[in-house]
């Protein structure tokens, strides 16, 4: 696989002005301005191959969008190097811009007052697409995104989901080889989210495009990304398989116990692990991942249980834990629940 994105020690620092609330502080800041350097992205390095879909995860303000903007040539890095398809993004060469796209959720690239298809025509001219190729790509996008009913409607009259689908179509008409997607499903209903996910997967397969995707919806990440990059307070803290992310940042698994005819006494089960959920027909226990098998065997031996299963913690929980960390130097260990 050819590497299409190379990032070495990429950094971006912003200078932000600060002041207390209120008019007096505003007037004081007129004379004496207090500024602070904020490291939005701090020496981040990674590589992405053609055809890869990589989830770019991080809490709000972690540096995801700043990274995407640097990789698409919108922002100049303060330090470090980035190469996308062999180009330096900040040089913003036309040949580079013609092969990438950046989709930012809810950011309107289409002309508001005319149907999306008219904006698509402008893209055809801007990217100098041959008519046949343009028509073929447009038909493909119309089919994959189910755009036919909305093509002739002014963009301002479209629902958020319809508009987002049109934005994505417009951003892909030139068949970019690298896609930077910043919250492409934000604000969309479940059906629209699923449709866009399926489309991105299909586009990736058909065109062997590399996709770097940020999303706060873990369903997006789980459906699309085998690999994730986690960025926290500007630092890259994880780059690897999504399944390994769980192992690295959580030390527990969940045992789901379904009792037989006789109800189980939760007080007795508490000795085997932390009870995290009690529902009719099932109880969930949190145990250390190394003890999961042994504890399960003991539960089966000690109680009249009809069914038991061991499940990994939901990815949302893992990410929540990662995001809650103060910074990478102060990562607190996961509390361990000793098995009885």
């Amino acid at each position: 696989m050819a590497t299409v994105i190379r990032v070495r020690d990429l950094a971006r620092t912003y200078q932000v002005t600060e002041r207390e609330a209120g008019l007096a502080a505003a007037l004081r800041s007129l004379v004496r301005r207090r500024t602070r350097q904020v490291k939005a992205v701090d020496r981040v390095s990674f590589e992405i191959d053609a055809g890869e879909i990589v989830g770019f995860l991080g809490a709000n303000g972690a540096g995801k969008t700043t990274s995407l903007k640097m990789l698409s040539g919108l922002l100049y890095p303060t330090a470090g190097e980035a190469s996308v398809l062999g180009f330096t993004p900040s040089n913003r060469e036309a040949a580079f811009l013609s092969q990438i796209t950046l989709v930012m959720g809810q950011r309107n690239q289409l002309v508001w007052d005319v149907p999306a298809v008219d904006s698509f025509e402008l893209s055809r001219a801007v990217y100098r697409l041959p008519r046949d190729e343009y028509r073929q790509t447009l038909d493909e996008l119309i089919d994959l995104l189910d755009l036919q009913p909305v093509l002739g409607v002014p963009v301002r009259n479209l629902s958020l989901g319809e508009r987002m689908k049109c934005e994505i179509a417009g951003a892909l008409l030139h068949r970019p080889k690298v896609l930077f997607l910043d919250e492409p499903t934000i604000g969309l209903d479940v059906t629209a989210q699923r449709r866009i996910r399926a489309f991105l997967k299909e586009y990736n397969t058909r065109h062997n495009a590399a996709i770097l995707l940020t999303s706060h919806y873990m369903a997006d990440v789980e459906a699309l990304c085998k690999r994730v990059i986690v960025i926290h307070h500007g630092h890259l803290i994880y780059d690897g398989d999504l399944t390994h992310l769980r192992q690295q940042f959580t030390t527990y698994k969940t045992i789901v116990v379904k009792p037989g005819d006789a109800p189980l006494d939760p007080a007795l089960l508490a000795a085997y692990g932390e009870i995290i959920c009690e529902e009719v027909g099932q109880i969930q226990l949190r145990v250390h991942r190394l003890d999961a098998a042994r504890t399960t065997a003991r539960l089966l031996a000690d109680f009249p249980i009809t069914d038991v299963s061991i499940v990994e913690p939901p990815i949302e929980e893992v990410i929540e834990r990662v995001f809650a960390m103060p910074d990478r130097e102060n990562v607190e260990p996961e509390p361990v629940y000793e098995a009885v």
Binding site: G73, L75, A94, L102, D113, V114, E121
Partner: protein, 265 residues
């Protein structure tokens, strides 16, 4: 040449957008007509009382402002405030992702405005010419040279506004500065009064800066107020001003983009 289809399609889009909002269009056109009517009414009254003002009789003022309307219409350009808004709100981001310079879209948009508002301008010119009869002293070369100077005035005004707009990449908030620019434009482009009515230093200032060359000069050409030598010299100055502004844009733009923080987008 590859930009021609971009211009054609963007122009179509801009026209389609403008005609969507009829009420807004009528208000814009009113703005186009009301201002010169006020100037015409005031100056023809002043000239009528005393015969003439600074060599301008009432019919000269009528001619001046009719031509001024035409020049203003064809030199309408992107407002620096628009560029400031794009910088402040991150609206430049989608434009910067395209493999063509954003200025081309703005040029197409301003041409679209000229096309859409042209019929209203023509009607307004006819009506005003009937109410305020003008008097022209045309030379044989007046109309072609006027068209030439007008075709230079538009890019001068356009580039001047754009270059000023780029200041926002450094300051983010630049409206107050543009307020000064608007006041200067009112006095130094011959909008409030013909430049020949200004004190000497005012005319000098308007001539040193791009103001005279982006509006007043084409009006002076068509009114026959200039000798052939002055006209040739003026055209030369227009070419120089245009070249300076273009050089400034090309020099400043990369640095401006480097400063861009894409705030909020």
């Amino acid at each position: 040449m590859h930009l021609l289809p971009v211009y054609r399609i963007r122009l179509n889009l801009a026209v389609a957008t403008l005609v969507q909002y009829r009420a807004a269009l009528i208000i814009w056109i009113q703005g186009l007509v009301v201002e010169p009517i006020i100037y015409m009414a005031v100056w023809t009254q002043v000239a009528g009382d005393s015969g003439s003002v600074g060599g301008y009789a009432a019919s000269d003022f009528a001619a001046y402002y009719l031509v001024w309307m035409v020049v203003r219409h064809f030199t309408v350009a992107t407002n620096p405030n628009t560029i400031e808004r794009r910088v402040r709100r991150g609206e430049f981001s989608p434009m910067l992702l395209l493999p063509v310079h954003p200025i081309h879209m703005d040029i197409a948009d301003s041409i679209a405005y000229k096309i859409v508002a042209l019929p209203a301008l023509l009607v307004a010119l006819v009506v005003l010419a009937l109410v305020f009869p003008p008097e022209f002293a045309l030379q044989s070369w007046s109309i072609p040279v006027f068209l030439l100077s007008l075709s230079l005035a538009f890019p001068i005004r356009f580039l001047f506004g754009w270059v000023l707009g780029l200041i926002a990449f450094w300051t983010t908030w630049a409206r107050s500065f543009y307020g000064v620019f608007v006041v200067a434009e009112v006095f130094l482009t011959g909008r409030l009064a013909p430049l020949s009515l200004l004190p000497g230093w005012g005319l000098a200032l308007a001539s040193i800066l791009p103001f005279r060359w982006m509006m007043s000069f084409p009006v002076e050409v068509l009114l026959g107020k200039l000798s052939l030598e002055q006209v040739v010299l003026g055209l030369g100055v227009q070419v120089i001003v245009l070249a300076v502004l273009l050089t400034l844009l090309l020099a400043i733009w990369p640095a401006a983009v480097e400063r861009y923080t894409a705030a909020g987008a």
